[in-house]
Protein backbone atom coordinates (compact mmCIF):
# COMPACT_ATOMS: atom_id res chain seq x y z
CA UNK A 1 0.00 0.00 0.00
CA UNK A 2 1.40 3.38 -1.03
CA UNK A 3 1.68 5.92 1.73
CA UNK A 4 -0.14 9.20 1.23
CA UNK A 5 1.88 12.39 0.98
CA UNK A 6 -0.95 14.29 2.64
CA UNK A 7 -1.52 14.12 6.40
CA UNK A 8 -4.66 12.50 7.77
CA UNK A 9 -7.44 14.72 9.09
CA UNK A 10 -8.21 15.40 12.73
CA UNK A 11 -10.49 12.38 12.89
CA UNK A 12 -7.39 10.16 12.69
CA UNK A 13 -5.48 10.01 15.95
CA UNK A 14 -2.44 8.09 17.10
CA UNK A 15 -1.00 7.68 20.57
CA UNK A 16 1.30 10.50 21.65
CA UNK A 17 4.14 9.03 23.73
CA UNK A 18 4.71 12.38 25.43
CA UNK A 19 1.16 13.38 26.36
CA UNK A 20 0.00 9.81 26.89
CA UNK A 21 -3.19 9.90 24.83
CA UNK A 22 -4.50 9.93 21.27
CA UNK A 23 -3.69 13.00 19.24
CA UNK A 24 -4.12 14.26 15.67
CA UNK A 25 -1.44 15.44 13.26
CA UNK A 26 -2.48 19.09 13.15
CA UNK A 27 -1.54 19.34 16.85
CA UNK A 28 1.85 17.69 16.41
CA UNK A 29 2.82 20.07 13.64
CA UNK A 30 2.44 23.16 15.86
CA UNK A 31 3.22 21.63 19.27
CA UNK A 32 6.51 23.37 19.94
CA UNK A 33 5.68 27.05 20.05
CA UNK A 34 4.17 26.86 16.57
CA UNK A 35 6.81 24.46 15.28
CA UNK A 36 6.59 20.65 14.99
CA UNK A 37 7.09 18.40 17.98
CA UNK A 38 10.55 16.81 17.95
CA UNK A 39 8.93 13.34 17.83
CA UNK A 40 6.83 14.10 14.75
CA UNK A 41 8.95 12.09 12.29
CA UNK A 42 9.14 9.07 14.56
CA UNK A 43 5.46 9.06 15.37
CA UNK A 44 3.95 9.73 11.95
CA UNK A 45 6.47 7.95 9.73
CA UNK A 46 4.29 4.86 9.69
CA UNK A 47 1.11 6.57 8.57
CA UNK A 48 2.03 8.90 5.72
CA UNK A 49 5.02 10.54 4.02
CA UNK A 50 5.55 12.92 6.90
CA UNK A 51 9.13 13.70 5.96
CA UNK A 52 8.16 14.74 2.41
CA UNK A 53 5.26 16.74 3.77
CA UNK A 54 7.35 18.62 6.32
CA UNK A 55 10.18 19.29 3.87
CA UNK A 56 7.59 20.94 1.64
CA UNK A 57 5.82 22.91 4.34
CA UNK A 58 8.63 24.00 6.65
CA UNK A 59 11.23 26.57 5.78
CA UNK A 60 14.86 25.45 5.85
CA UNK A 61 15.45 26.92 9.31
CA UNK A 62 12.44 25.10 10.78
CA UNK A 63 13.47 21.84 9.11
CA UNK A 64 17.03 22.19 10.34
CA UNK A 65 15.81 22.91 13.85
CA UNK A 66 13.61 19.83 13.74
CA UNK A 67 16.20 17.29 12.60
CA UNK A 68 19.46 18.77 13.86
CA UNK A 69 18.51 20.24 17.20
CA UNK A 70 20.86 18.63 19.74
CA UNK A 71 19.10 17.16 22.74
CA UNK A 72 19.33 19.41 25.78
CA UNK A 73 19.81 17.80 29.20
CA UNK A 74 16.69 18.16 31.34
CA UNK A 75 18.59 19.88 34.15
CA UNK A 76 19.72 22.58 31.73
CA UNK A 77 16.18 23.09 30.46
CA UNK A 78 15.06 23.53 34.06
CA UNK A 79 17.85 26.01 34.81
CA UNK A 80 16.84 28.02 31.74
CA UNK A 81 13.19 27.99 32.81
CA UNK A 82 14.17 29.11 36.31
CA UNK A 83 16.16 32.02 34.87
CA UNK A 84 13.27 33.01 32.58
CA UNK A 85 10.82 32.83 35.48
CA UNK A 86 13.09 34.97 37.67
CA UNK A 87 13.28 37.53 34.88
CA UNK A 88 9.50 37.61 34.45
CA UNK A 89 9.10 37.97 38.22
CA UNK A 90 11.48 40.94 38.24
CA UNK A 91 9.70 42.60 35.33
CA UNK A 92 6.36 42.18 37.08
CA UNK A 93 7.60 43.81 40.31
Amino acid sequence: MEKSVEPPGDDFKIRCPRLGHQIFFSYCVIESDGNPCFKILDCWHQYFEVETYLKTHLNSEQWDKLVNRPPKPKVLSLVELIEQAKKRKKEAE
Partner: protein
Amino acid sequence: MEPKKIVLPESEIPRQWYNILPDMPTPLEPPLHPGTGQPVGPDDLSPIFPMPLIEQEVSQDRWIDIPEEILEKYLIWRPTPLYRAYNLERYLETPAKIYFKNEGVSPAGSHKPNTAIAQAYYNKISGTKRITTETGAGQWGSALSFCCSLFGIECKVFMVKVSYNQKPYRRIMMETWGATCVASPSDETEAGRKILAENPDSPGSLGIAISEAVEAAVADEDTKYSLGSVLNHVMLHQTINGLETQKQMALVGDYPDVIIGCAGGGSNFAGNALPFVRDKINGKDIDIIAVEPASCPTMTRGPFAYDFGDTVGMTPLLPMHTLGHSFVPEPIHAGGLRYHGMAPIISQLVMDGLIRPVAISQLETFKAGITFARTEGFISAPETDHAVAMAIREALKAKEEGKEKTILFNWSGHGLVDMAAYEAYLHGKLADHELPSEEVERALKDIEPLPKPKQAQK
Protein backbone atom coordinates in the same frame (compact mmCIF):
# COMPACT_ATOMS: atom_id res chain seq x y z
CA MET B 1 -0.02 -26.02 42.25
CA GLU B 2 2.80 -23.67 41.26
CA PRO B 3 2.58 -20.18 42.80
CA LYS B 4 1.21 -17.57 40.43
CA LYS B 5 2.11 -14.55 42.54
CA ILE B 6 5.42 -14.25 44.32
CA VAL B 7 4.60 -12.03 47.23
CA LEU B 8 7.25 -10.42 49.37
CA PRO B 9 6.21 -9.95 53.01
CA GLU B 10 5.95 -6.33 54.13
CA SER B 11 8.75 -6.99 56.60
CA GLU B 12 11.04 -7.69 53.63
CA ILE B 13 10.49 -4.38 51.85
CA PRO B 14 13.89 -2.91 50.87
CA ARG B 15 15.12 -0.29 53.35
CA GLN B 16 17.45 1.48 50.93
CA TRP B 17 17.31 2.73 47.36
CA TYR B 18 20.10 1.82 44.98
CA ASN B 19 22.05 4.68 43.40
CA ILE B 20 23.85 3.55 40.25
CA LEU B 21 25.92 6.73 39.82
CA PRO B 22 29.03 5.44 41.68
CA ASP B 23 28.91 2.15 39.73
CA MET B 24 28.59 3.60 36.23
CA PRO B 25 31.52 2.61 34.02
CA THR B 26 31.40 6.07 32.42
CA PRO B 27 30.54 8.77 34.97
CA LEU B 28 27.90 11.27 33.92
CA GLU B 29 29.28 14.63 32.87
CA PRO B 30 27.80 17.41 35.01
CA PRO B 31 25.55 19.71 32.97
CA LEU B 32 27.03 23.18 32.53
CA HIS B 33 25.05 26.29 33.36
CA PRO B 34 24.22 28.05 30.08
CA GLY B 35 24.96 31.45 31.63
CA THR B 36 28.15 30.81 33.61
CA GLY B 37 29.62 27.79 31.86
CA GLN B 38 30.17 26.25 35.30
CA PRO B 39 28.63 22.96 36.44
CA VAL B 40 25.04 23.42 37.59
CA GLY B 41 25.11 23.61 41.39
CA PRO B 42 22.62 23.34 44.24
CA ASP B 43 21.92 27.09 44.24
CA ASP B 44 20.84 26.96 40.60
CA LEU B 45 18.17 24.38 41.38
CA SER B 46 17.15 25.49 44.88
CA PRO B 47 14.37 27.82 43.63
CA ILE B 48 12.38 24.77 42.53
CA PHE B 49 13.67 21.73 44.45
CA PRO B 50 14.16 21.13 48.18
CA MET B 51 17.76 20.53 49.23
CA PRO B 52 17.43 16.81 50.10
CA LEU B 53 16.38 16.06 46.52
CA ILE B 54 19.19 18.20 45.09
CA GLU B 55 21.64 16.28 47.27
CA GLN B 56 20.24 12.99 46.00
CA GLU B 57 20.52 14.25 42.42
CA VAL B 58 24.31 14.38 42.70
CA SER B 59 24.94 11.82 45.46
CA GLN B 60 27.72 9.30 44.96
CA ASP B 61 26.49 7.08 47.81
CA ARG B 62 25.63 3.65 46.45
CA TRP B 63 22.85 3.03 48.99
CA ILE B 64 20.50 5.67 50.37
CA ASP B 65 18.28 4.92 53.36
CA ILE B 66 14.54 5.13 52.80
CA PRO B 67 13.02 7.11 55.68
CA GLU B 68 10.47 5.28 57.83
CA GLU B 69 7.78 7.83 56.92
CA ILE B 70 8.17 6.88 53.24
CA LEU B 71 8.26 3.15 53.96
CA GLU B 72 5.03 3.49 55.90
CA LYS B 73 3.34 5.06 52.86
CA TYR B 74 4.92 2.56 50.45
CA LEU B 75 3.17 -0.19 52.39
CA ILE B 76 -0.17 1.03 51.04
CA TRP B 77 0.65 -0.93 47.87
CA ARG B 78 4.21 -2.23 48.22
CA PRO B 79 5.80 -4.71 47.96
CA THR B 80 4.10 -5.21 44.61
CA PRO B 81 3.53 -8.78 43.41
CA LEU B 82 5.77 -10.50 40.92
CA TYR B 83 3.68 -12.72 38.65
CA ARG B 84 4.57 -15.79 36.66
CA ALA B 85 2.72 -15.46 33.33
CA TYR B 86 1.80 -19.14 32.94
CA ASN B 87 -1.19 -18.44 30.70
CA LEU B 88 0.85 -16.32 28.32
CA GLU B 89 3.59 -18.95 28.26
CA ARG B 90 1.07 -21.66 27.35
CA TYR B 91 -0.55 -19.46 24.71
CA LEU B 92 2.82 -18.79 23.08
CA GLU B 93 3.90 -22.44 23.50
CA THR B 94 7.26 -21.18 24.62
CA PRO B 95 9.82 -22.99 26.74
CA ALA B 96 10.61 -19.59 28.30
CA LYS B 97 9.51 -18.65 31.80
CA ILE B 98 7.91 -15.21 31.81
CA TYR B 99 7.66 -13.09 34.94
CA PHE B 100 6.16 -9.64 35.26
CA LYS B 101 6.38 -7.16 38.10
CA ASN B 102 2.99 -5.59 38.64
CA GLU B 103 3.44 -1.89 39.36
CA GLY B 104 -0.16 -1.22 38.36
CA VAL B 105 -1.44 -2.01 41.86
CA SER B 106 -0.60 1.42 43.24
CA PRO B 107 -3.57 3.70 43.96
CA ALA B 108 -2.68 5.81 40.92
CA GLY B 109 -2.32 2.69 38.81
CA SER B 110 1.34 2.97 37.85
CA HIS B 111 4.94 3.00 39.08
CA LYS B 112 4.93 6.78 39.38
CA PRO B 113 4.03 7.05 43.08
CA ASN B 114 7.37 5.37 43.92
CA THR B 115 9.05 8.73 43.43
CA ALA B 116 6.03 10.96 44.06
CA ILE B 117 5.86 9.67 47.66
CA ALA B 118 9.55 10.41 48.20
CA GLN B 119 9.35 13.85 46.60
CA ALA B 120 6.29 14.80 48.63
CA TYR B 121 8.02 13.65 51.83
CA TYR B 122 11.28 15.54 51.25
CA ASN B 123 9.29 18.66 50.36
CA LYS B 124 7.24 18.27 53.52
CA ILE B 125 10.26 18.09 55.81
CA SER B 126 11.80 21.04 53.95
CA GLY B 127 8.81 23.27 54.72
CA THR B 128 7.22 23.27 51.27
CA LYS B 129 3.53 24.17 51.37
CA ARG B 130 2.65 23.61 47.70
CA ILE B 131 4.06 21.55 44.84
CA THR B 132 3.50 22.33 41.18
CA THR B 133 3.98 20.08 38.20
CA GLU B 134 2.94 19.63 34.59
CA THR B 135 1.12 16.69 33.08
CA GLY B 136 -0.23 15.45 29.76
CA ALA B 137 -2.81 12.72 30.10
CA GLY B 138 -2.38 12.90 33.86
CA GLN B 139 -0.55 9.75 34.90
CA TRP B 140 2.16 11.74 36.67
CA GLY B 141 -0.22 14.44 37.83
CA SER B 142 -2.51 11.92 39.46
CA ALA B 143 0.41 10.11 41.15
CA LEU B 144 1.72 13.36 42.61
CA SER B 145 -1.76 14.45 43.69
CA PHE B 146 -2.25 11.18 45.56
CA CYS B 147 1.12 11.46 47.31
CA CYS B 148 0.76 15.13 48.23
CA SER B 149 -2.56 14.28 49.85
CA LEU B 150 -0.80 11.72 52.09
CA PHE B 151 1.59 14.38 53.40
CA GLY B 152 -0.86 17.28 53.57
CA ILE B 153 0.78 19.35 50.84
CA GLU B 154 -1.16 21.36 48.28
CA CYS B 155 -0.68 20.22 44.71
CA LYS B 156 -1.22 22.30 41.61
CA VAL B 157 -1.09 20.52 38.26
CA PHE B 158 -0.77 22.40 34.99
CA MET B 159 -2.41 20.03 32.53
CA VAL B 160 -1.88 20.56 28.80
CA LYS B 161 -5.17 22.00 27.55
CA VAL B 162 -5.65 19.48 24.75
CA SER B 163 -5.22 16.73 27.36
CA TYR B 164 -7.42 18.52 29.91
CA ASN B 165 -10.23 18.49 27.38
CA GLN B 166 -9.66 14.90 26.27
CA LYS B 167 -8.86 13.13 29.55
CA PRO B 168 -11.43 14.10 32.16
CA TYR B 169 -11.04 10.97 34.30
CA ARG B 170 -7.42 11.56 35.26
CA ARG B 171 -8.30 15.17 36.01
CA ILE B 172 -11.10 14.02 38.27
CA MET B 173 -8.70 11.60 39.99
CA MET B 174 -6.38 14.53 40.72
CA GLU B 175 -9.24 16.58 42.10
CA THR B 176 -10.44 13.63 44.18
CA TRP B 177 -7.02 13.56 45.84
CA GLY B 178 -7.37 17.26 46.54
CA ALA B 179 -5.17 18.74 43.83
CA THR B 180 -5.98 21.81 41.78
CA CYS B 181 -5.80 21.04 38.10
CA VAL B 182 -5.69 23.92 35.64
CA ALA B 183 -5.68 23.84 31.86
CA SER B 184 -2.42 25.16 30.45
CA PRO B 185 -1.87 27.77 29.12
CA SER B 186 -3.59 29.44 32.04
CA ASP B 187 -3.96 33.00 33.19
CA GLU B 188 -2.19 32.13 36.47
CA THR B 189 1.34 32.76 35.19
CA GLU B 190 3.09 35.32 33.01
CA ALA B 191 4.14 32.51 30.67
CA GLY B 192 0.53 31.37 30.27
CA ARG B 193 -0.88 34.87 29.90
CA LYS B 194 1.64 35.68 27.16
CA ILE B 195 0.63 32.60 25.17
CA LEU B 196 -3.08 33.32 25.63
CA ALA B 197 -2.62 36.93 24.54
CA GLU B 198 -1.05 35.72 21.29
CA ASN B 199 -3.40 32.79 20.77
CA PRO B 200 -6.47 32.49 23.00
CA ASP B 201 -7.23 29.09 21.46
CA SER B 202 -3.79 27.62 22.11
CA PRO B 203 -4.13 23.87 22.77
CA GLY B 204 -1.09 24.05 25.03
CA SER B 205 1.96 21.82 25.14
CA LEU B 206 4.16 20.13 27.70
CA GLY B 207 6.70 22.90 27.12
CA ILE B 208 4.20 25.59 28.07
CA ALA B 209 2.89 23.59 31.04
CA ILE B 210 6.36 23.07 32.48
CA SER B 211 7.10 26.80 32.05
CA GLU B 212 4.01 27.58 34.06
CA ALA B 213 4.78 25.03 36.77
CA VAL B 214 8.36 26.27 37.16
CA GLU B 215 7.28 29.90 37.17
CA ALA B 216 4.70 29.21 39.89
CA ALA B 217 7.44 27.63 42.01
CA VAL B 218 9.93 30.44 41.43
CA ALA B 219 7.31 33.09 42.23
CA ASP B 220 6.54 31.78 45.72
CA GLU B 221 9.15 30.60 48.20
CA ASP B 222 6.69 28.17 49.83
CA THR B 223 6.15 26.45 46.49
CA LYS B 224 8.40 23.90 44.81
CA TYR B 225 8.26 22.00 41.54
CA SER B 226 8.29 18.27 40.96
CA LEU B 227 9.28 16.19 37.93
CA GLY B 228 8.24 12.58 37.47
CA SER B 229 10.98 11.28 35.21
CA VAL B 230 14.42 11.82 33.68
CA LEU B 231 16.25 13.18 36.75
CA ASN B 232 18.69 11.08 38.78
CA HIS B 233 16.74 11.27 42.02
CA VAL B 234 13.64 9.98 40.24
CA MET B 235 15.57 6.95 38.95
CA LEU B 236 16.89 6.42 42.48
CA HIS B 237 13.44 6.30 44.10
CA GLN B 238 12.17 3.91 41.47
CA THR B 239 14.80 1.28 42.28
CA ILE B 240 12.67 -0.08 45.11
CA ASN B 241 10.91 -1.96 42.30
CA GLY B 242 13.99 -3.85 41.07
CA LEU B 243 15.29 -4.44 44.58
CA GLU B 244 12.00 -6.09 45.52
CA THR B 245 12.09 -8.11 42.30
CA GLN B 246 15.55 -9.45 43.10
CA LYS B 247 14.28 -10.71 46.46
CA GLN B 248 11.19 -12.22 44.83
CA MET B 249 13.20 -14.01 42.15
CA ALA B 250 15.42 -15.40 44.89
CA LEU B 251 12.34 -16.72 46.71
CA VAL B 252 11.60 -18.99 43.74
CA GLY B 253 15.25 -19.74 43.06
CA ASP B 254 15.26 -18.09 39.66
CA TYR B 255 17.15 -15.25 37.96
CA PRO B 256 16.31 -13.46 34.69
CA ASP B 257 18.26 -13.96 31.46
CA VAL B 258 16.35 -11.10 29.84
CA ILE B 259 14.97 -7.97 31.50
CA ILE B 260 12.56 -5.72 29.63
CA GLY B 261 11.00 -2.36 30.33
CA CYS B 262 9.44 0.38 28.26
CA ALA B 263 11.45 3.57 28.18
CA GLY B 264 9.92 6.97 27.57
CA GLY B 265 11.70 9.19 30.06
CA GLY B 266 13.32 6.16 31.62
CA SER B 267 11.87 6.01 35.12
CA ASN B 268 9.87 2.79 35.04
CA PHE B 269 12.59 1.07 33.07
CA ALA B 270 15.25 2.27 35.51
CA GLY B 271 13.22 1.23 38.51
CA ASN B 272 13.13 -2.40 37.59
CA ALA B 273 16.38 -2.66 35.64
CA LEU B 274 19.04 -0.66 37.49
CA PRO B 275 19.60 -3.13 40.35
CA PHE B 276 20.10 -5.79 37.66
CA VAL B 277 22.41 -3.48 35.69
CA ARG B 278 24.55 -3.47 38.82
CA ASP B 279 24.67 -7.27 38.63
CA LYS B 280 25.61 -7.02 34.94
CA ILE B 281 28.41 -4.58 35.72
CA ASN B 282 29.61 -7.15 38.27
CA GLY B 283 29.70 -9.92 35.68
CA LYS B 284 26.19 -11.37 35.30
CA ASP B 285 25.20 -12.28 31.75
CA ILE B 286 21.86 -10.51 31.26
CA ASP B 287 20.23 -8.97 28.20
CA ILE B 288 18.64 -5.74 29.45
CA ILE B 289 16.28 -4.25 26.88
CA ALA B 290 14.77 -0.75 26.86
CA VAL B 291 11.79 -0.65 24.52
CA GLU B 292 11.01 2.67 22.94
CA PRO B 293 7.64 3.93 21.83
CA ALA B 294 8.72 4.72 18.31
CA SER B 295 6.63 4.21 15.22
CA CYS B 296 9.32 2.96 12.90
CA PRO B 297 8.87 0.36 10.19
CA THR B 298 9.15 -2.99 11.88
CA MET B 299 12.02 -5.29 11.08
CA THR B 300 9.81 -8.33 11.42
CA ARG B 301 8.76 -8.11 7.78
CA GLY B 302 12.23 -9.14 6.78
CA PRO B 303 13.28 -12.77 6.31
CA PHE B 304 14.78 -14.84 9.10
CA ALA B 305 18.45 -14.56 8.24
CA TYR B 306 21.85 -14.17 9.73
CA ASP B 307 22.72 -10.55 10.11
CA PHE B 308 24.80 -8.24 12.21
CA GLY B 309 23.07 -6.82 15.25
CA ASP B 310 24.23 -3.31 14.43
CA THR B 311 24.42 -1.04 11.43
CA VAL B 312 28.20 -1.07 11.11
CA GLY B 313 28.68 -4.81 11.16
CA MET B 314 30.71 -4.96 14.37
CA THR B 315 28.61 -7.51 16.29
CA PRO B 316 28.65 -11.28 15.72
CA LEU B 317 26.23 -12.62 13.11
CA LEU B 318 22.88 -13.42 14.69
CA PRO B 319 19.87 -15.24 13.30
CA MET B 320 17.05 -12.72 13.21
CA HIS B 321 14.19 -11.31 11.23
CA THR B 322 15.98 -8.61 9.34
CA LEU B 323 15.82 -6.12 6.54
CA GLY B 324 19.60 -5.99 6.54
CA HIS B 325 21.89 -4.28 8.96
CA SER B 326 22.13 -1.14 6.86
CA PHE B 327 18.41 -0.54 7.21
CA VAL B 328 17.66 2.16 9.73
CA PRO B 329 14.40 4.05 9.34
CA GLU B 330 15.15 7.62 8.42
CA PRO B 331 13.64 9.29 11.47
CA ILE B 332 16.07 7.33 13.61
CA HIS B 333 18.96 8.82 11.65
CA ALA B 334 17.74 12.29 12.28
CA GLY B 335 19.87 14.20 14.71
CA GLY B 336 19.67 12.05 17.83
CA LEU B 337 15.93 12.33 18.10
CA ARG B 338 15.81 8.93 19.61
CA TYR B 339 17.24 9.83 23.00
CA HIS B 340 15.68 13.24 23.25
CA GLY B 341 14.03 13.40 26.65
CA MET B 342 15.58 10.19 27.94
CA ALA B 343 17.15 10.05 31.41
CA PRO B 344 20.90 10.73 31.15
CA ILE B 345 21.63 7.64 33.27
CA ILE B 346 19.81 5.40 30.78
CA SER B 347 21.35 7.10 27.72
CA GLN B 348 24.83 6.61 29.16
CA LEU B 349 24.22 2.96 30.01
CA VAL B 350 23.02 2.42 26.44
CA MET B 351 26.21 4.00 25.13
CA ASP B 352 28.22 1.77 27.48
CA GLY B 353 26.53 -1.30 26.02
CA LEU B 354 24.84 -2.32 29.25
CA ILE B 355 21.33 -1.68 27.95
CA ARG B 356 20.03 -2.58 24.50
CA PRO B 357 17.43 -0.23 22.99
CA VAL B 358 14.72 -1.60 20.72
CA ALA B 359 11.93 0.31 18.97
CA ILE B 360 8.57 -1.39 18.46
CA SER B 361 5.72 -0.12 16.32
CA GLN B 362 2.47 1.03 17.84
CA LEU B 363 0.42 -1.69 16.18
CA GLU B 364 2.61 -4.50 17.49
CA THR B 365 2.35 -3.11 21.01
CA PHE B 366 -1.46 -3.02 20.94
CA LYS B 367 -1.61 -6.52 19.52
CA ALA B 368 0.59 -7.65 22.41
CA GLY B 369 -1.58 -5.78 24.89
CA ILE B 370 -4.66 -7.59 23.63
CA THR B 371 -2.88 -10.96 23.85
CA PHE B 372 -1.77 -10.17 27.39
CA ALA B 373 -5.25 -9.07 28.46
CA ARG B 374 -6.78 -12.25 27.02
CA THR B 375 -4.25 -14.55 28.70
CA GLU B 376 -3.17 -12.85 31.94
CA GLY B 377 -6.24 -10.67 32.36
CA PHE B 378 -4.64 -7.30 32.99
CA ILE B 379 -5.24 -4.42 30.56
CA SER B 380 -1.94 -2.62 30.23
CA ALA B 381 -1.29 1.07 29.80
CA PRO B 382 -0.33 1.59 26.14
CA GLU B 383 3.26 2.44 27.17
CA THR B 384 3.43 -0.80 29.15
CA ASP B 385 2.35 -2.69 26.02
CA HIS B 386 5.79 -1.96 24.59
CA ALA B 387 7.34 -4.12 27.30
CA VAL B 388 4.68 -6.78 26.81
CA ALA B 389 5.38 -6.85 23.07
CA MET B 390 9.11 -7.26 23.63
CA ALA B 391 8.54 -10.03 26.16
CA ILE B 392 6.42 -11.85 23.58
CA ARG B 393 9.14 -11.38 20.96
CA GLU B 394 11.74 -12.83 23.32
CA ALA B 395 9.49 -15.73 24.30
CA LEU B 396 8.90 -16.58 20.62
CA LYS B 397 12.61 -16.29 19.96
CA ALA B 398 13.26 -18.77 22.77
CA LYS B 399 10.71 -21.09 21.12
CA GLU B 400 12.43 -20.79 17.72
CA GLU B 401 15.80 -21.43 19.28
CA GLY B 402 14.45 -24.17 21.54
CA LYS B 403 15.95 -22.47 24.57
CA GLU B 404 14.67 -22.28 28.11
CA LYS B 405 15.01 -18.70 29.16
CA THR B 406 13.81 -16.63 32.06
CA ILE B 407 12.22 -13.39 30.90
CA LEU B 408 11.30 -10.62 33.30
CA PHE B 409 9.40 -7.51 32.30
CA ASN B 410 8.12 -4.52 34.18
CA TRP B 411 4.35 -4.17 33.96
CA SER B 412 4.42 -0.48 34.73
CA GLY B 413 0.73 0.35 34.85
CA HIS B 414 -2.83 -0.46 33.91
CA GLY B 415 -4.69 1.11 31.00
CA LEU B 416 -8.15 1.39 32.48
CA VAL B 417 -8.34 5.11 31.75
CA ASP B 418 -6.70 4.70 28.35
CA MET B 419 -9.39 2.71 26.62
CA ALA B 420 -9.73 5.18 23.73
CA ALA B 421 -6.39 3.91 22.47
CA TYR B 422 -7.62 0.32 22.57
CA GLU B 423 -10.84 1.34 20.87
CA ALA B 424 -8.87 2.87 18.00
CA TYR B 425 -6.86 -0.33 17.63
CA LEU B 426 -9.80 -2.74 17.96
CA HIS B 427 -11.88 -0.80 15.45
CA GLY B 428 -9.09 -0.74 12.90
CA LYS B 429 -8.53 2.98 13.09
CA LEU B 430 -4.78 2.50 13.28
CA ALA B 431 -3.83 1.35 9.80
CA ASP B 432 -0.55 -0.34 9.04
CA HIS B 433 1.48 0.52 5.99
CA GLU B 434 3.82 -1.65 4.03
CA LEU B 435 7.32 -0.45 3.34
CA PRO B 436 7.96 0.52 -0.28
CA SER B 437 9.19 -2.65 -1.99
CA GLU B 438 12.25 -0.95 -3.51
CA GLU B 439 13.35 0.12 -0.03
CA VAL B 440 13.02 -3.45 1.22
CA GLU B 441 14.92 -4.86 -1.79
CA ARG B 442 17.75 -2.39 -1.34
CA ALA B 443 18.10 -3.24 2.32
CA LEU B 444 18.00 -7.00 1.76
CA LYS B 445 20.84 -6.92 -0.82
CA ASP B 446 23.21 -6.30 2.08
CA ILE B 447 22.51 -9.68 3.66
CA GLU B 448 22.57 -11.77 0.45
CA PRO B 449 26.17 -12.97 0.88
CA LEU B 450 25.68 -13.95 4.53
CA PRO B 451 25.00 -17.59 5.58
CA LYS B 452 21.39 -18.66 6.10
CA PRO B 453 20.16 -20.09 9.42
CA LYS B 454 18.75 -23.64 9.35
CA GLN B 455 15.20 -22.49 10.03
CA ALA B 456 15.31 -20.19 7.01
CA GLN B 457 16.46 -23.03 4.73
CA LYS B 458 13.46 -25.24 5.54
